[in-house]
């Protein structure tokens, strides 16, 4: 296929995916899982190879795209083993390191922030991260200022850049050699999850809701800008892809608690990202039935919601499918244990329920499982082509923004030492100041994002 054909294919896929998210007419339902674990292991790689060997990982993805060319977007691994190792990150167990090479990575929850440390977090989130949180969560930084800790910071920065290059290279090669867009780029957390995942942990946060509710609320508010900043720092500069937000702890809350503790700061974070020209792909973990009506409060077609296995996709379609595009509908167990006939029937029913006026991308409960039977995945695609084709004559072109134009940002990029401060230190500048400033700020922005990635 010529480069021109590849570009045409890329535009067609991206246009279809973007239109579906925006609830605009499409020629057919896109095939675009938020996360496709199946693609990682389809060609026989171990789960360890995916996170430790970028070449093997990319080879696996390309083989997958060749065999399933109907795919419209692909995104799978998001974890770099070397980056975690460089600083001794304690929040995940990794395949091949702490788990069998064929087992998936797993999150390990612990209270890295104590119940009486909210004031410190609220007063200065950056200082709290740097001085309190990171030395606890990154083993190699346990003794700040030591040679080992300083070297770990250095290695961590280098590994971060290295992983960034891996992701960029992967994105470019998938685009140029396979015509394949990404399902999403960049990520952030709901502020409540930022506290409840790796800071206070589930138990700690649940107790805080009863014992010190005000502090928890204020902490969530204090993290809004940090989450917006992190999301924007790692997002696609061309604004082609949605930014990912995996939600984790909402499912444990009563509707009242959700409205009090979870939603206000989450909504504000999403509004600021939307205002900055991005769409969002939200994984609604667990049963969001009691809460998903809140997505009606955000502009139409701005947040694609992945409905988990426990959620009722048909109810979600009824409740919010006219306002936001949904993804999901095929239970993980059906991909793993079911038959192609059962998958086909499920897709048929889902397409009928969505009709022409509700947004739906058929997917697993957030991800396509590792142990998916290939014939079931094929059956899903065939059935989507059969039942999810609306108007084959429709040609869609993608929206791509020029990063040079900048565009509106709801928030200036955060830095530890901004340019005016540095400028003052430098005194007279003899050449092109902008050239120096641009590079200074680029590294500052990345370093700032580096600090916050450890909440993810």
């Amino acid at each position: 296929m010529s480069a021109e054909d590849m570009k045409r294919l890329f535009d067609e896929r991206l246009g279809r995916y973007q239109a579906a998210i925006a609830l605009k007419p499409t020629d057919r339902m896109p095939i675009a899982a938020g996360t496709n674990y199946f693609a990682e292991v389809y060609s026989g790689n171990t789960k360890q190879q995916t996170i430790y060997d970028p070449e093997k990982w990319l080879e696996a993805e390309m083989a997958f795209v060749r065999n399933f060319p109907e795919l419209d977007a692909l995104r799978d691994n998001r974890i770099s083993g070397p980056l975690f190792d460089a600083v001794g990150c304690k929040t995940y167990r990794l395949p091949g390191r702490d788990l069998s090479p064929t087992t998936q990575f797993q999150f390990v929850e612990k209270e890295y922030m104590q119940a009486d440390e909210y004031d410190a977090l609220i007063e200065n989130p950056l200082k709290f991260m740097m001085e309190v949180f990171l030395p606890r969560v990154l083993g190699d930084l346990a003794e700040p200022g030591s040679i080992r800790a300083n070297i770990a910071l250095l290695k961590g920065g280098m590994a971060f850049m290295q992983f960034g290059q891996v992701m960029q290279n992967r994105s470019i090669r998938l685009q140029q050699e396979c015509g394949m867009p990404q399902s999403m780029a960049g990520a952030f957390l709901a502020p409540f999850d930022a506290v409840a995942d790796v800071m206070r942990g589930l138990n700690g946060t649940m107790l805080d809701m009863f014992r010190q509710p005000e502090k928890l609320i204020v902490a969530c508010e204090a993290l809004v800008e940090e989450m917006v900043n992190f999301g924007l720092a790692m997002a696609d500069p061309f604004k082609r892809y949605p930014i990912f937000v995996p939600t984790h702890k909402a499912m444990f809350l009563s509707p009242d608690q959700f409205e009090t503790f979870y939603w206000p700061s989450f909504k504000k974070t999403m509004e600021m990202l939307i205002e900055s020209g991005y769409r969002i792909r939200a994984y609604l973990e667990g049963d969001w039935g009691p809460y998903w009506h809140h997505m009606l409060e955000l502009p139409r077609g701005t947040v694609i919601c992945d409905i988990d296995n426990q959620g009722d996709i048909f109810k979600a379609l009824d409740d919010i499918g006219h306002h936001q595009c949904l993804a999901g509908g095929v239970p993980d167990s059906l991909f793993i244990l079911g038959s192609p006939g059962e998958v086909r029937e499920r897709v048929r029913v889902l397409c009928k329920a969505a009709g022409a006026d509700k947004g739906l991308l058929i997917n697993g409960g957030c991800a396509i499982p590792y142990d998916t039977r290939p014939e079931n995945y094929r059956a899903m695609i065939d059935a989507i082509l059969e039942f999810g084709t609306h108007d084959s004559s429709l040609r869609l072109s993608p929206e791509v923004k020029d990063p040079a134009e900048g565009g509106h940002r709801a928030l200036p990029a955060k830095m530890v030492t901004d340019w005016p401060s540095k400028r003052e230190e430098l005194g007279e500048i003899l050449g092109d100041e902008q050239l120096i400033q641009r590079n200074w700020e680029r590294l500052e922005v990345l370093a700032y994002a580096w600090l916050w990635q450890w909440l993810m």
Partner: protein, 207 residues
């Protein structure tokens, strides 16, 4: 329902502690205090079943209970145990290290008077069989969060069935990736859709 059971049901943490301290001071038998707390926990489970409480309230109530038991445990030593509702062995299957759901089930089971052997996470089939043999429990609970555990759950069920425990043990599966299709695949006897459902199934088995 006693005042203590009421206070625990209503999640009045400080009131629960004050009442327990008073009761201990007044020489009330620790077994009576445990019994009243268990009544409160049963009510909490009931409110959960009615969708009036959510997981956060279950976790909070179990934390309060934990603090009460820390006060009572020294007093309960050397005392005869109250009558058991039955024995249950439970754990998260091999490969999976998640335990939020399992821990909630354990708290509710203990609150309902069951003797629970909690094997923790990443439990291989051999440990399940050994614990069943040693405890004589008639119920085995298998917990999982990740969907790669289906074959492992199937293995545990097969091994339990082929051990010398034939027809004695009922296996319940639960957790996010479980459903009726998974139950059939694993050969388990029951699928519990949530923690309260799991306790109800244990009660039926021992009923």
């Amino acid at each position: 329902m006693s005042e203590l059971a009421h206070a625990l049901r209503d999640l009045q943490e400080q009131k629960v502690y004050a009442l327990v301290d008073d009761m201990i001071g007044n020489g009330v038998s620790p077994l009576t205090i445990v019994e009243e707390c268990n009544q409160g926990m049963v009510e909490v489970g009931e409110l959960f079943a009615q969708n009036k409480y959510f997981i956060s309230q279950l976790i909070y109530s179990s934390e309060i209970l934990k603090a009460v038991m820390a006060k009572l445990n020294p007093l309960l030593e050397n005392m005869e145990k109250s009558e058991s509702a039955g024995k249950v062995v439970i754990g998260t299957v091999k490969g999976d290290i998640h335990d939020i759901g399992k821990n909630i089930v354990v708290t509710l089971l203990r609150g309902a008077g069951f003797e629970v052997t909690d094997l923790g996470v990443d439990v291989p089939w051999e440990r399940f069989v050994k614990a069943l043999r040693e405890s004589g429990a008639k119920v085995l609970g298998l917990s999982a969060l990740l969907n790669f555990t289906y074959p492992e759950m199937q293995t545990v069920v097969e091994r339990v069935r082929s051990a010398d425990l034939q027809d004695q043990v009922s296996v319940i599966i639960g957790g996010a990736p479980c459903n009726e299709q998974v139950r059939q695949y694993c050969g388990a006897d029951y699928y519990a859709k949530d923690a309260v459902d799991g306790v109800a199934i244990c009660k039926r088995i021992y009923g």
